[in-house]
């Protein structure tokens, strides 16, 4: 028996046999595509959003409702919300997977973050529809 801390192999399988099959989970490219497509969509959408928010400085609730009752503004806002929260949860997922190593904590963080993203997105969508419709 090797002393603790000393390099040792206490399994019958060879190192190569152990390492084999540990490659791609074959789920990465879908994640990458979704991340990049939402990114492309968010370039014009976020610029439009910044302009909209500047227009809404000092606005009343009626002004906000009036702005969002336009069909283009309502549609763009809904697309912005979906793209933003989808992009957000994909991005933060990678950050959590990179920096949280403990499996249980990692899983709970991912579940909490994804759940919170869905809740916030639904809240935003309902609010925008209530204002705009």
């Amino acid at each position: 028996m090797a002393r603790p801390g000393e390099p040792h192999i206490d399994t019958m399988r060879s190192p190569l046999g152990q390492a084999r099959g540990l490659g791609s989970a074959r789920a990465g490219s879908g994640h990458w595509w979704a991340q990049n497509l939402t990114a492309i969509a968010l370039v014009p959408l976020s610029l439009w959003f910044v302009c909209g928010m500047i227009r809404m400085i000092g606005a009343s609730r009626q002004d906000v409702a009036h702005w969002l009752s336009g069909p283009v503004a309502l549609m763009l806002m809904l697309v912005l919300i979906v793209a933003t929260f989808h992009h957000l949860q994909l991005g933060v997922q990678v950050v959590i997977e990179d920096y949280i190593h403990q499996p249980a904590l990692r899983l709970w963080s991912l579940l909490l973050m994804k759940g919170a993203s869905v809740v916030l997105a639904v809240l935003c969508i309902v609010a925008v529809l209530r204002l705009g419709l």
């Binding site: 390099p7 227009r55 609730r61 935003c124």
Partner: protein, 143 residues
Amino acid sequence: MRDARDALMVARNTDGKLVGRPLSPHLQVYRWPLAMAVSILHRISGCALGVGTLLMTWWLVAAATSDSAFAAIQWFLSSWLGVLCLCGWTLALFQHLFSGIRHLAWAAIYGFEKPEYRVTNLAVFAASAACTLVVVVVGLVAW
């Protein structure tokens, strides 16, 4: 060896003795070039924008709920803390936007050469600072 991944980290030397493979040095041994700063700022600004969505959600829900709820968020956003949040959020948005555009260019296999890299590092900082300044000035004038 508890984890199969450790299999790659143990090997035999020429004497046949089991040894741990050397590890590559981690972040702290490097000096801090601009490229590293832009890279980590992309993540930091992305996470900051995630926190910022709370503010957007609060604003939209308040506008859809009642006059008093909307008055509360408008009061917060016009306080010094609110203005600070909005300025920080604007900076994070533009930093992430321009750094993200560079990521999209890389995804299209464009801009990988070292001279281009140096220029785009600076361009990301310059563009985000300039756009933030414009938005803050226009916002203050419109206010």
